[in-house]
């Protein structure tokens, strides 16, 4: 079995590292627009790893590069820009597909290829990173432990103080705090303003922390694959508070309209979108000196990425709640690890269903404990809190 990874960035690189560890695979090809990047990653991964140069914006070259592989893992963002380029090529070449899409509109678009994937006889698992991805898996596991799950609240905190690296991260952030974004409320998908819906939840390592509605795929995919839900939300925030999405740079700039990608402004003869400006400007702001009130020592030892998934429902007619927490040193671990794990489920025949699905649809086909064990080995700390409420003396 052969796998190809698109994007030799931090996450693609980690996913490749995971894939070469699977004995189902004989080849793991790392493809990037920059051949040198791909080569450097491949050289660290032993004889199973190969590399090639691919520009996903060149359809013919993309198709040809996927030919003959059993699964493609797409790690090239930002997804709202290029979501369906790779799935189209995968359908044409009948190659199974996994991606780490984290934009809500991209997820909608990808789901629209369901019939074409079925016809092509391929399995396409989208949004298979950490958030979304690992969180969707937690949601499905929690829901499977209840007779009826009704509400799933997903939330995540990213330690933004060392947010360096790919500019796609900034484009993604600008996108999820921009304008109206979908949440699944009262049994239907509705659009709400980004950064509304503030809640304070308890998180591991940092305690109570605010989170806001952001534009993510969880509310888009989860209600399709877990039946009977009345509510699915996604909230996020940056850590520490100096990086709060709403109350610091990103939020202020978003309120001023700098996240917009739909208009172009003439700046001394150059036509640029406010979002292009924002994404060039944010790295400068974030790398400049921090405000005094912020103590760096507080975050040095903090997990880089923290998630919480609350599943609420009923068991034997009594209210039940299951909460999943996770922390990890770097998002790449939970994101790259999950995408590789899902790709493995496809190549080893565990996940047989054809069509486009979120990772929550894989839970029935996977050994949950094996997944937990795998993620734990990679340094993701996960815990499950089960809460039930019953009336004493009333037989259930």
């Amino acid at each position: 079995m052969k796998a190809i990874i698109l994007g030799a960035g931090v996450i693609g690189g980690y996913a490749a590292q995971c894939l070469v560890g699977f004995n189902e695979l004989t080849e793991v090809c790392i493809a990037d627009i920059n051949e040198q990047n791909a080569k450097e990653y491949a050289q660290t991964l032993g004889s199973m790893a190969t590399y090639k140069q691919v520009d996903i914006y060149t359809p013919q070259q993309l198709r040809q590069s996927l030919r003959g592989y059993d699964v493609v893992v797409n790690c090239v963002g930002p997804f709202y820009k290029n979501a369906d380029l790779v799935i189209k090529a995968a359908i044409d070449e009948k190659v199974n597909f996994v991606d780490i899409c984290d934009d809500y509109d991209a997820a909608e678009l990808l789901l629209s290829y369901n019939e074409e994937c079925k016809t092509a006889g391929i399995t396409a698992i989208i949004c298979a990173g950490a958030s979304p991805g690992m969180m969707n898996i937690f949601a499905a596991i929690g829901a499977s432990k209840m007779q009826q799950a009704e509400e799933i609240d997903t939330s995540w905190i990213e330690n933004s103080i060392d947010a360096v690296g790919a500019e796609t991260v900034f484009y993604h952030a600008a996108h999820f705090v921009d304008g109206l974004i979908p949440q699944f409320l009262d049994g239907k998908q509705v659009n709400v303003p980004a950064l509304s819906g503030k809640e304070e939840f308890d998180f591991p390592a940092i305690g109570k922390y605010p989170v806001y509605f952001v534009g993510h795929p969880e509310p888009v995919t989860i209600p399709r694959f877990i039946k009977g839900l009345k509510k699915v939300t996604n909230r996020g925030n940056g850590y520490p508070l100096s990086q709060d999405y709403k109350e610091s740079f990103l939020g202020f700039l978003a309120q001023l309209g700098f996240t917009s990608k739909d208009i172009e402004v003439n700046v001394k003869g150059n036509m640029i979108t406010p979002r292009d400006f924002l994404c060039s400007y944010l790295p400068i702001v974030l790398s400049s000196e921090l405000p005094e009130e912020f103590e760096v020592t507080d975050v040095e030892n903090m997990p880089h990425f923290i998630t919480r998934v609350d599943v609420k429902g009923y068991n034997h007619g009594q209210p039940a709640q299951i909460i999943y927490f996770s922390t990890c040193e770097h998002t790449k671990i939970a994101t790259g690890g999950t995408s590789a794990y899902i790709a493995r489920l496809i190549v080893n025949g565990s996940m047989k269903t054809k069509g486009v699905m979120g990772p929550e649809a894989c839970v029935e086909s996977m050994d949950q404990n094996n997944y937990f064990k795998y993620m734990k080995e990679h340094g993701v700390t996960m815990s499950e809190v089960i809460k039930t409420e019953t009336e004493l003396g009333v037989s259930s």
Binding site: K373, S383, I386, G393
Partner: protein
Amino acid sequence: MRYMVLGSGEVGSVVAKDLGSINETTQVCVADINLEAAQKLSQQIGSKADACRIDIYEKDGLLNSIKGYDVVVNTVGPFYKTGTIVLKACIDAKVNYVDIADDSAAVKELLKFEKACENAGITAIISHGVSPGVTNMLGLLGATKMDEVDEINTSWVESSLGSAIGPANIWHGLEMGSGMIPQFLDGKLVDVPAISEAESLKFREPLGEYPVYYVGHGEPVSLPKYIKGLKKVTNKGNLWPDVMDFNILTVYDKIGLAGTDTLKVGEVELCKRDIAAYSLLDIIDSLGETIAKEFENVEDIGFQVRVDVKGKIKGHPAHFVYTCFTDMNQSTGLSASYGAQSIASGKVNAKGLFAPEGCQDPNAFFQHLANKGFTIYETKTVESILKNQKELLAATI
């Protein structure tokens, strides 16, 4: 079955009426220092009931009156004064005994009679009310569902609306809310300042979050005797609404008027605690109308109980929270009545003196209360680190 209920007050009435309603009961004698009150209550109960006058401070009269009954239920407080008097008489008369002793001083004293009760061949159950009583049983219930139990924290909030407050209530408040009181911390009973360690806990609606403080109650004294391995047992309480917050009691402690020693005022020798009680009563009376008006349309919070049990299940941290919202007199009376019935019916047949958690079966007890319409909620939280099969817990809950 023949029962004697000492005290025809609010709790005594519930006990007597409940016992009078059971088929197995042949006689309920209501005894009070005020014969008229006892007679009035016995008439309400009907043909199984009669009444007599007992002054528990008249030793011989008390002893003669209780002879021949299956169980005496003592509802006459304050228990640090009355508990041992009635218990001693029951030992002498060889009559089983149940009380609703709540303050820590009383529970400590009563527990000294374990051997005497055993030798007399009687069963005595103390603290068979709500707090302590139901709280102790909830601690036991949680403990039986865990593999290891570390902490049992009991707490309560009582509404002061609609109940007449007299000097005796304030005396009782100062007894448990002043000076040093016992809590079971780090595996041993230690004295801590009363009304310390304020903590805001979530109770059932309509109360919600409310502050509670360490008070001198029986739970930290008795629970560690019966449930092994406990590191912490506490009791915290408070009054509602917040104008009645227990914090006011600390003022009397600070100015030295909470004690029971005397102070000479001119030619008159007065008990310091009486001075405190009457001055506080004066404040409460002056506030009475304002409070009544302010809370005219506010739902009464009743009596709120919360018990937190912390321990481990299969090595995983577990936290069970029991909450209920009830009428204090009603639930205290029903609990005490069950205590008396369980002795008379032989459900509890061990001889000696126990707190309820030392002799009652929690499931039978809570089933009985549920049948009486007393709703207690159990919220179980178990945390597990996700690693492998044996650590997944969903199947066990």
